[in-house]
């Protein structure tokens, strides 16, 4: 479960002064649900997700993730989440297995559990062929699979995906979408950010549209269409993100 309460983040930029990247964002995401955070580039999606993952600390407000407070118990939060984005790269000089093993150790798993979990994940994700190949030598699709295995090694209850399909080819993007769906089916709490409307329409149970750091609206796809009297999510997005609100 994720509960964000008045989450805000202010950056101080030497040239531009104070930038309010996220402004009092509140929402709830429950287990077995995919919550889609939809917004243009620079809307505040990544900052919001980084605060939930405790990579960044909020300037004000807080959130509980998997029952732990992001401000007071950041390490416990991180122990219970899997975070995947195109910015989270892999170590070129480690093999696929070494990468997964390293993260298993960081999550506090013992050697036997790591071996067992890794074997299951490598089989499920069809990664056995390149298990001992260094990440630098892997294709983009293979790397994404290693990243997925890395996020799942400790079997987290909450999954956070920050634009996970950005820059990927159609086939790799599709496998990521399937994986996100599986996470929901396993009862995990899933939050997913993107600016691709079709992905949101295909995947998300509930949607929040973020613009200028503010969560402008949220609800199911049908609720949004009804509320704004639009046929498509894209029209709703343009309406919400524009001055018309």
């Amino acid at each position: 479960m994720i509960e964000a309460r008045e989450l805000s983040k202010v950056f101080n930029d030497k040239k531009r002064g104070e930038i309010r990247a996220v402004d009092r964002v509140s929402f709830t995401c429950i287990p077995g649900e995919i919550y889609g955070l939809l917004g243009a580039n620079g809307a505040g999606k990544t900052t919001t997700l980084r605060m939930l993952a405790t990579i960044l600390g909020p300037t004000s407000g807080t959130a509980t993730v998997a029952g732990f407070d992001v401000v007071r118990e950041p390490e416990k939060v991180r122990a219970n989440i899997g975070f995947l984005s195109t910015a989270t790269a892999l170590y070129d000089r480690l093999t696929a297995f070494e990468t997964v093993e390293y993260f298993g150790q960081l999550y506090g798993l013992d050697s036997a559990t790591i071996k067992q979990r890794a074997a299951e994940l490598f089989k499920a994700l069809d990664m056995e062929e390149f298990r001992d190949r260094r990440c630098a030598k892997l294709s983009t699709g293979m790397k994404q699979k290693v990243s997925i295995a890395r996020t799942l090694i400790h079997n987290p209850s909450v999954m956070i995906f920050d634009e996970p399909t950005s820059g990927l080819d159609v086939m790799t993007a599709r496998s990521i979408i399937d994986f996100i769906r599986q996470c929901r089916d396993q009862g995990k709490t899933v939050i997913f950010s993107t600016h691709v409307m079709t992905e949101v329409e295909k995947l998300c149970d509930r949607i929040g549209i973020i613009h200028g750091g503010e969560l402008r609206t949220e609800g199911t796809l049908e609720e949004m269409r009804d509320r704004y009297r639009k046929d498509t999510l894209e029209d709703v997005f343009v309406e919400v993100s524009g001055d018309g609100r």
Partner: protein
């Protein structure tokens, strides 16, 4: 802080580092292969040119040779001085290194000497040119000996004892043991090189593990795991520290090897000695370990601030001069080990090395230098940890 978590990071970073060719090059190959090779080449040519200079005769010109035929006759018998026919541009010839020195004998030299006047012979030479200074010394030695022989003959003619010419003798002898002489001459240099390897050995791993990771996106990946930033910083610190220690240990080993084989490598058979034994090694290790820790912490703190590996290089490379400078000052004559110099990082170790290589162990100073360097290293490490806790540093764009 959890040591076990930091050790997980350390083991992974070590494995990663040992697979990085760039790091291996800077940490192992350069200190072990390239540096001794350079020393051997420099030593070989240095030794060769010195031997050559002493073997060949110094070409000189004498102005006013016609005023001192006896002196010229004596000079012509000196094998190491080659008197060439005088030319009016002799001084220019010295500057152009065509001849090595020019001596000017004043008009009426012989008659002035016979009359008991004291005419002056002047020697023109090229200050700083080794061969020219050698020619000057040879001429001075010859003229002094000739002067003594003239004086001796004059005294004998008058029936005065020759011993009056030199009522007493002076004899200067080196009383310092060879190891102390060696330490004074090269002790500072040896440690200065070790300090440089200690710094450069940690440079590339530090940049790779911080700015390099930020640039490649792996820093954000590890930040999503439950490890605390202090543990992450400490794990990375241990890796860079290891690289620094290994690099300086390898440089000590290769230096010792080249030094012990200096005769075989044609670097001259200098009888200089430096005292490398268990005591000096233990003392050196005691002060070098906290220095490596200080370097590792500073390197991590500085390189982490950079957005990219290239930017980190632009911050870290000039720091080599900051490291070199106290090392050079420590090598200067007159800079001795005192409670003041013991406080200055790097300089203190450079000065201490001269004492250690001479076979003395000033344990109070060693303990003070060890303690002070530990304090500096702890301050630098806490600064590095603070940098890891700063979002504006980790996510600097």
């Amino acid at each position: 802080m959890s040591l076990s978590k930091a050790l997980i990071v350390y083991r992974k970073e070590l494995r990663d580092m040992l697979r990085d060719k760039r790091t291996i090059r800077s940490m192992v190959i350069i200190p072990v292969v390239a540096f001794p090779l350079l020393m051997m080449v420099v030593g070989y040519f240095g030794s060769k040119s010195e031997t050559e200079a002493h073997r060949e005769a110094s070409a000189v010109m004498i102005q006013g040779s016609e005023y001192a035929p006896k002196l010229m006759a004596a000079l012509s018998k000196v094998s190491k001085i080659d008197v060439q026919p005088y030319q009016s541009d002799a001084r220019q010839e010295v500057t152009d290194k065509k001849i090595r020195a020019v001596a000017v004998i004043p008009a009426g030299f012989d008659s002035d000497v016979a009359a008991g006047k004291t005419p002056q012979i002047s020697i023109g030479y090229f200050e700083g040119d080794e061969k020219s200074e050698l020619a000057r010394d040879r001429l001075q030695t010859f003229f002094s000996a000739y002067r003594d022989s003239v004086a001796r003959a004059a005294l004998e003619a008058r029936g005065v004892p020759v011993s009056l010419l030199s009522p007493f003798q002076i004899d200067a002898q080196n009383v310092a043991p060879p190891s102390k002489v060696g330490a004074e001459l090269i002790g500072g240099f040896v440690l200065y090189m070790i300090i440089i390897w200690c710094f450069t050995g940690g440079m590339y791993p530090a940049m790779d593990l911080t700015a390099g990771e930020k640039e490649r996106g792996t820093m954000e990946t590890v930040l999503t795991s439950p490890i605390s930033r202090a543990d992450l910083a400490f794990g990375k610190f241990l890796t860079v520290f290891t690289a620094s220690v290994v690099s300086s240990a390898l440089s000590i080993g290769s230096l010792a090897f080249v030094w012990s084989k200096r005769a075989e490598f044609g670097m001259g058979t200098s009888d200089l000695q430096i005292s490398i034994n268990a005591g000096s090694l233990l003392s050196l290790t005691m002060v070098l370990l906290p220095l490596a820790a200080l370097f590792a912490s500073v390197l991590i703190a500085v390189a982490l601030y950079a957005k990219s590996y290239r930017e980190a290089q632009s911050y870290v490379s000039p720091m080599v001069f900051v490291v070199v400078l106290p090392g050079i000052i420590g090598m200067m004559p007159g800079i001795e080990l005192s409670w003041k110099t013991a406080l200055v990082p790097i300089l203190n170790i450079s000065v201490l090395s001269k004492v250690l290589m001479g076979g003395s162990y000033p344990w109070a100073y060693i303990a003070a230098i060890f303690g002070m360097t530990c304090v500096y290293a702890a301050i630098a490490l806490s600064a590095a940890v603070r940098m890891f806790n700063r979002e504006d540093v980790l996510f600097r764009t």
